[in-house]
Amino acid sequence: MTPHAMLDMFRRKGGSRCIEIGREIQTYLDGGLDPTTAARVSNHLHACRRCGLTADDYRLLKSALAETTAPMSAEPLQRLHAFAADLAAGDIPT
């Protein structure tokens, strides 16, 4: 095999590795991978700048989305608690 062919094969291997890891990044960040796969993804994210930055993007996005949760006003929750208490006390609407 010529050096160029070997280099080409190496690049293709590296590329396919990133594609494979790229499919797992979101599940990894959601905590949905088994420990072995999670460790493999984690190692790659530390070693590969491009995939690491992709993971950073998703972390930022998830964190920002979690923060969009509006503070809940007390009144509706109080009414719902009262409704549940009424049910428990036998006051059941027909």
Binding site: Y58, A64, P76
Partner: protein, 191 residues
């Protein structure tokens, strides 16, 4: 994602009696109201949907085995929501796919995205990203990333497989990431 201890079958909810119903559902009310808000047009409808869910849960207590209380309540909410739509548009809804289509029609992505961030906007650019999603993709983002449901809980709420929730969620995040790639508030550092 939700706390696993809340859905772990090895840590089942103690037997729920009629008299302890309010103590049982109390911790789940904020989650139920948040999910209902993502399914309904306004806060009044959302509160009505939670009340309907509570009433159905109370009547169905005898069939509850004590495991997965959140998924149980969310499945009840889903059925209550289907019935609600049936009452409003009788004869049009037959299954979960119909419900999804009806919900999409009622909650166009623009107004839903605005509603999501209207009351509390820590990152305004998120509103832009949510606007680029289809109603179905927006809904899974609302349920999982904003309301904090697990894939399984979102699946129970929407009546679709957990794998579909995951694929929609991943596609939605990819779309938002692509949308934000050139946003001035997000891309301040050179890549």
């Amino acid at each position: 994602m939700a706390d696993e201890s809340q859905i772990n079958p090895t840590n089942p909810t103690p037997p729920v009696t009629v008299g302890s119903f309010d103590a049982f559902v109390g911790p789940h009310l904020p989650m139920l109201l948040r999910v209902a808000s993502s399914l309904c047009r306004n806060s009044h409808d959302a509160e009505d949907l939670v009340q309907d869910t509570l009433l159905r849960a109370f009547r169905g207590l005898g069939g509850f085995d004590g495991t997965y209380p959140r998924a149980w309540l969310l499945t009840i909410m889903r059925n209550a929501n289907i019935n609600r739509h049936r009452r409003q548009r009788p004869g049009l809804l037959h299954d979960a796919a119909d419900l999804e289509g009806e919900a999409d029609r009622r909650n166009p992505p623009a107004s839903s995205a605005e509603d999501v961030v209207a009351a509390h906007t820590p990152a305004p650019w998120i509103a832009d990203a949510l606007q680029c999603l289809s109603p179905r993709h927006l809904r899974v983002v609302q349920l999982v990333d904003i309301a904090g449901l697990t894939y399984d809980e979102a699946a129970a709420t929407l009546g679709i497989p957990a794998g579909t929730v995951m694929s929609r969620l991943h596609r939605a995040r990819s779309r938002m990431r692509a949308h934000l790639a050139h946003h001035p508030d997000v891309r301040s550092e050179p890549r």
